[in-house]
């Protein structure tokens, strides 16, 4: 099963994604973190997410890119991938990223993760609504993230948007 949870900044999407995963993955749970711990804001966010997960029985793997080559110790009931926006930024802009091949690399990585678990929950970011002018690389980044959303939502069993901590069903299951 594939579930996509999207939402704006600080909209409560992580909490909902964790809950959705824990409801479906009874025993073995993996948290796959893509954020690179650069800067105080990133470190504060990582600390906050660690506190949210504490005591919920997650293994944690930090992997900023190259998910298709990830080797896991065993099959998992559920994997929580957090988040797609960081993964794409890393693939596009990090020195060791896939660069022009980022889009296909990410889809291959997600297909690989689906082979490694029963339920994959992907957290991503709604970044498409401010209408501000950005540099071409930022516009390209947003465009690729939007395309990833549409492709993944097409494959997903359920898609949700978190708004002010309220989970809105966009596609699929209405069991919120």
């Amino acid at each position: 099963m594939l579930i996509l949870v999207t939402g704006g900044a600080a909209s409560g999407k992580s909490e909902h994604a964790e809950r959705l995963l824990c409801e479906r993955a009874a025993c073995s749970r993996l948290y796959l973190a893509t954020m690179q711990p650069f800067g105080a804001v990133a470190q504060a966010r990582i600390a906050r997410h660690r506190a949210l997960r504490a005591g919920k029985g997650f293994d944690t793997v930090e992997r900023p890119l190259g998910l298709a080559g990830l080797t896991l110790p065993h099959q998992y009931d559920g994997i929580l991938l957090e988040d797609l926006g960081n993964l794409l930024a890393n693939e596009l802009f990090a020195p060791e990223g896939a660069k022009d091949a980022a889009f296909g690399s990410i889809l291959a990585g997600i297909a690989h993760l689906q082979d490694c678990c029963e339920t994959l929950v992907i957290v991503s970011n709604e970044i498409f609504a401010d209408g501000l002018p950005y540099a071409p690389e930022t516009v390209g980044y947003a465009a690729q993230l939007g395309r990833l959303h549409t492709v993944l939502a097409g494959r997903a069993d359920a898609v949700y948007e978190s708004v002010c901590g309220i989970l809105l069903p966009v596609k699929g299951e209405h069991t919120v």
Partner: protein, 111 residues
């Protein structure tokens, strides 16, 4: 009764609040109050108690590209966290698109 009306800018949130909840005092533009509170060096969560019993409008500012400026990112985060906290205790949360209400919590219609 506490109501949060969120949505993009210029969607008719305040007019809708006055039409749907005429008995409630109206607090407009919570996102601007958050910015002022941060500028004054205080925690925006301090705003929460005074919002109880009001109809509160707030722009949904978190749905854009993450700002490079850490202060701008902190502002967006603070608006989002305050809205999550206010929504959790609100009787109704209304998302306004083109002046049309979607009752995403409480209210009269649930999507």
């Amino acid at each position: 009764m506490t109501v949060l009306l969120i949505g993009g800018a210029w969607q008719g949130k305040a007019a809708l609040a006055e039409r749907l909840y005429p008995a409630l005092p109206l607090t407009k533009n919570l996102h601007q109050m958050v910015r002022q509170t941060l500028a004054a060096g205080r925690d925006p969560m301090e705003l929460l108690p005074a919002l109880r019993g009001h109809a509160v409008t707030c722009d949904e500012v978190g749905c854009g590209v993450v700002p490079l400026d850490p202060e701008e990112e902190r502002y967006r985060e603070a608006v989002g966290r305050l809205c999550c906290a206010l929504a959790a205790e609100a009787d109704a949360v209304v998302r306004v698109i083109a002046g049309v209400p979607q009752y995403i919590k409480g209210g009269t219609t649930c999507i």
